[in-house]
Symmetry: C2
Subunit: 188 residues, 2 copies
């Protein structure tokens, strides 16, 4: 399993906890978790392709969840990041070698593959039973309050800094509306 | 998951079906399945290290199962070939980045990792519930009788050929005991 699964699951819990009108760029999510921005961006693009996240354009743009956290399962994320293939790949070696018969002998899937895939079905069922909302609930119940507070403040600072940059880069912005977080959201 | 898991599971079902006094070299198991001999040998060595197979020395040597097929689970084989590590690796990215707290905040395992590992526990439980004996039973019940017969004859031919070679290479063997499979087993 790629490390992207871990990165994206953490990113999705952060996105699930954002204020409803906020998005976070991949670079900021990478900074928050201290992981490689280019790789995280690639994995997040995969989640967008899978309908888990959406990418919001513009100066306050970035990633958001594309649907409620309770409707995104861990299986959705794992399959988006690592692909839909089963971990066990049957290469039909039973049809190779000196005692193999004609293809008509192999209409039923190989018993070894079926046994291996039964186990993967159990794994998928468990991943499907847990949602991003469950992860958020669990984090809120177990993470130290000062860490939750530090996370919320970091997210707010990202918005404040984006508000400042936007004002500097926008000559039509009204004078004096530079870096006040309370007016940030009323800006265009 | 490595392709070695498929190869070794097929090899173990063959070993489980051998006559009790017979062994098969890795090269013959590779020939039977038309897979790379060096890779299969490496994977079979891993199963020996894990106590699943044992390697018998001598002219009639090769691999045998080290314990009854009903006492070898699919999980035993998967862990022997692919290692004991979980598929999901928690790299503790929650302890990285600008809002991470001191190590004392992270005594409890990460909720994301625990959710992922619950799914792996379900996968392992299912693999542990199926044995090599189950695979053999299933093969005997579903594989065409002519293919089972072809397999049994191929295994017998391997022994016959080994008997021939051994006799040629052993100057002390009695005259006339060249290639008769019925006398093969009484040879030293």
């Amino acid at each position: 399993m790629s490390e992207g699964v871990e990165w994206v699951l953490h990113s999705c819990t952060v996105l699930a906890a954002l204020p409803s009108d906020q998005a976070l760029p991949a670079a900021k999510l990478a900074e928050l978790h201290d992981v490689a921005p280019a790789y995280l961006a690639k994995h997040l693009q995969a989640t967008t392709a899978a309908g888990i996240t959406c990418s919001v354009a513009g100066p306050r743009g970035g990633y958001r969840l594309a649907r409620p956290p309770a409707e995104i399962t861990l299986l959705d994320v794992v399959l988006a990041v690592d692909g839909e293939d089963t971990a066990f790949r049957c290469t039909e070696i039973r049809q190779q070698g000196p005692v193999a018969g004609p293809p008509s002998c192999y209409r039923r899937p190989c018993g070894i593959a079926r046994a291996m895939w039964r186990a993967e079905d159990a794994w998928r069922a468990e991943l499907e039973a847990t949602t991003i909302a469950d992860l958020v609930d669990e984090l809120l119940a177990t993470v130290a309050p000062e860490l939750l507070q530090a996370g919320a403040e970091w997210v707010q600072q990202v918005e404040v800094a984006r508000g400042r940059r936007r004002t500097v880069n926008e000559p039509r912005a009204p004078q004096g509306a530079t870096a006040n977080p309370t007016t940030r959201r009323s800006q265009p």
